[in-house]
């Protein structure tokens, strides 16, 4: 009887278990092995010890991609969270019209990243783009956006803010979940709007902020699509084979994110051993962030204990 129940339970889990082993554990272990070898797709892997890892330290483009990724973590993640909180606070003020505005703010988050990126490169075109034309009208000389190394990453942040809808909805649920009685009590104590936000709302939504911070970092660590497409569209160069472009990272490597460089090393230069060493380094960082998340996971797992 007991055995039968155990078997039933595992019959529910069998496909997922096989999936984890075949599509996650096995490739992860192979990646560790390959990271100690030198090979391209054509030859047999050749053991080289720690060479790939040593090579990482002397790779200027890798260092640049790490700097770019850290820039995104330091700027994009907080800006996204602050904007999402701002939007959700604004929406929480509405009784009527809330669902209308919510839909408007949410819709861009649905746009395919490739489509949204192409659209933004066009909107922000330095010469004739509508944004700079508009800025021109009000007497501001617009930057070169995706075409300048200083502005390419801020442009990506702008693109990211356009798609902020899903984070906004998560925060909105948190903000609306704050008990009204807390606000009333604070008002009786003479708290103004800022105090109510600072001492009532903010502490209550702290778990959501933590969740957003950690998932934001993870998201930034795998940031690929927008950076890849923006670089090749902005450079205006022809691409080959479905978007593999010689213009990745344009301009001047400023949009080379870590995953983009990993992909380029592995699938354009066929340095698969080296790419795997980069993958393992990424794994270590992402795993550390995940562990931090799980440590604070009460709000996340929904476990009632």
């Amino acid at each position: 009887m007991r055995l039968r129940r155990t078997l039933t339970t595992w019959s529910f889990l069998a496909p997922a278990l096989i999936g984890i082993v075949v599509f996650f554990l096995y490739p992860l272990i192979s990646a560790v092995y390959f990271s100690f070898t030198k090979f391209d797709l054509l030859t047999v892997p050749q053991w080289v010890g720690l060479d790939n890892y040593r090579r990482m330290a002397d790779d200027p483009l890798l260092m640049q991609s790490i700097r770019n990724t850290l820039w995104m973590v330091a700027v994009f993640v907080p800006v996204r969270i602050i904007s999402a909180i701002g939007l959700s606070m604004l929406l929480s003020q509405f009784q009527r019209g809330a669902s209308f505005f919510r839909t408007i703010f949410y819709l861009p988050a649905l746009a395919p990243p490739v489509a949204a990126t192409i659209a933004f490169v066009y909107l922000l075109k330095p010469g004739t783009g509508p944004v700079n034309t508009f800025l021109d009208h009000i007497g501001i000389e617009g930057p070169l956006w995706f075409n300048s190394p200083e502005w390419s990453k801020p442009s990506l942040v702008l693109l990211g803010l356009w798609g902020i809808g899903d984070l906004m909805i998560i925060f909105l649920a948190g903000v609306l979940g704050v008990p009204v009685s807390l606000y009333e009590a604070a008002s009786l104590d003479g708290a103004n709007a800022w105090h109510r936000f600072r001492y009532v709302t903010l502490p209550t939504i702290r778990p959501v902020i933590l969740f957003a911070a950690v998932t934001g970092v993870i998201y930034t660590l795998q940031y690929f699509d927008q950076a890849a497409v923006a670089g090749s569209v902005a450079s205006g160069q022809a691409v080959t084979g479905g978007g593999i472009s010689s213009s990745f990272g344009y301009p001047e490597g400023s949009t080379f994110t870590y995953p983009l460089w990993l992909y380029t090393v592995g699938f354009r230069y066929n340095a698969l051993g080296y790419a795997n060493a980069m993958a393992i380094a990424l794994f270590v960082v992402a795993f550390a962030v995940t562990v931090i998340l799980l440590r604070r996971a009460k709000a996340f797992s929904g476990e009632e204990q």
Partner: protein
């Protein structure tokens, strides 16, 4: 409570009048900000729509408004690119990935949410780890695996894994299933239902919104996916999806911005349509991923 419903007294003191003016000002401020932001969120889409019906010459200028309206641009997109092919591939990928994911992930989510067994926590933590780790970590070995079976250049490497569950969707559905009271399941068991029967007859009907949310996420993920198709299908144009087609389209036709934007609009339409039909399930799903279930 009653104070709110009371009619205001005819004679109003200056204090009350000031308070009322403040409320009105706040109302105006809130709405102005919300409307201004709405315009900023919507403007790119409106601009794309206008651009997509311009001539290619006008699209290179800084005009906002089309001189002449060329709706035939949308037809020309089909003539100059294999758009139907891309569209078909995208539908195949998105639909089959969603269906297979549901078949494999619903039972797993049910077990994790409602069945007690040894190793449950380990299993759940593993699923969170899989969900959180960047796909690039396992890219190279997976690519080699599919290459060994000669399946690169097709959509199979993107679809087949869904037969074995998707970590994010399992997580999402588990969060939803936790909100279903266990009493219903106990009642079914007392009536002699086995676990599979309980799942099919009792849990599935109750969990429909959660399952719908997970299905939508999977569908949108696959529809929008760029990294997966780039990795596995870029060598074979017959297997390209819309994302891939769009990304290359600008390279070949980068002068014809009107056509590029028309294609971009076409790629977004199905997503928006699906969203409007399933808005509620979708919003609920987003909420469940970030907040206590």
């Amino acid at each position: 409570m009653t104070a709110v419903l009371e009619r205001p007294a005819p004679a109003v003191s200056p204090d009350v009048r000031r308070a009322r003016r403040q409320v009105r000002l706040a109302w105006i401020a809130k709405h102005s900000i919300a409307i201004a932001l709405s315009i900023m969120f919507i403007a790119p889409v409106v601009y794309l729509l206008l651009l997509s019906v311009m001539t290619s010459d006008q699209a290179l200028t800084s005009d906002y408004w089309p001189n002449t309206w060329h709706f035939e641009n949308y037809v020309r997109v089909f003539e100059v690119t294999p758009l139907p092919r891309y569209l078909l591939n995208t539908v195949i990928y998105a639909v089959s990935a969603t269906v297979l994911m549901l078949l494999s992930s619903v039972p797993a989510a049910y077990a994790l949410a409602k069945l007690k067994f040894r190793g449950r926590n380990v299993m759940f933590l593993t699923i969170i780890c899989v969900m959180m780790l960047p796909p690039q970590v396992v890219t190279v070995p997976l690519y080699l695996m599919w290459a060994r079976y000669g399946l690169t250049g097709s959509l199979a490497p993107l679809i087949i894994p869904m037969l074995f569950g998707d970590a994010f969707c399992i997580f999402l559905m588990r969060q939803f299933l936790l909100t279903i009271p266990s009493e219903y399941l106990d009642a079914a068991r007392v009536d002699g239902c086995g676990e599979w029967k309980t799942l099919l007859r009792v849990v599935l009907p109750m969990a429909r919104p959660g399952i719908a949310a997970a299905a939508l996420f999977q569908f949108f993920y696959a529809w929008n996916d760029y990294y997966g198709p780039l990795l596995y299908t870029s060598e074979n144009e017959n297997s390209w999806t819309l994302s891939l087609g769009l990304a290359s389209f600008h390279g070949v036709h980068h002068v014809d911005w009107n056509l590029v934007t028309a294609a971009t609009v076409l790629a977004m339409v199905p997503i928006v349509v699906v969203f409007f039909f399933a808005q509620k399930a979708f919003v609920q799903g987003v909420t469940l991923t970030g907040v206590k279930g």
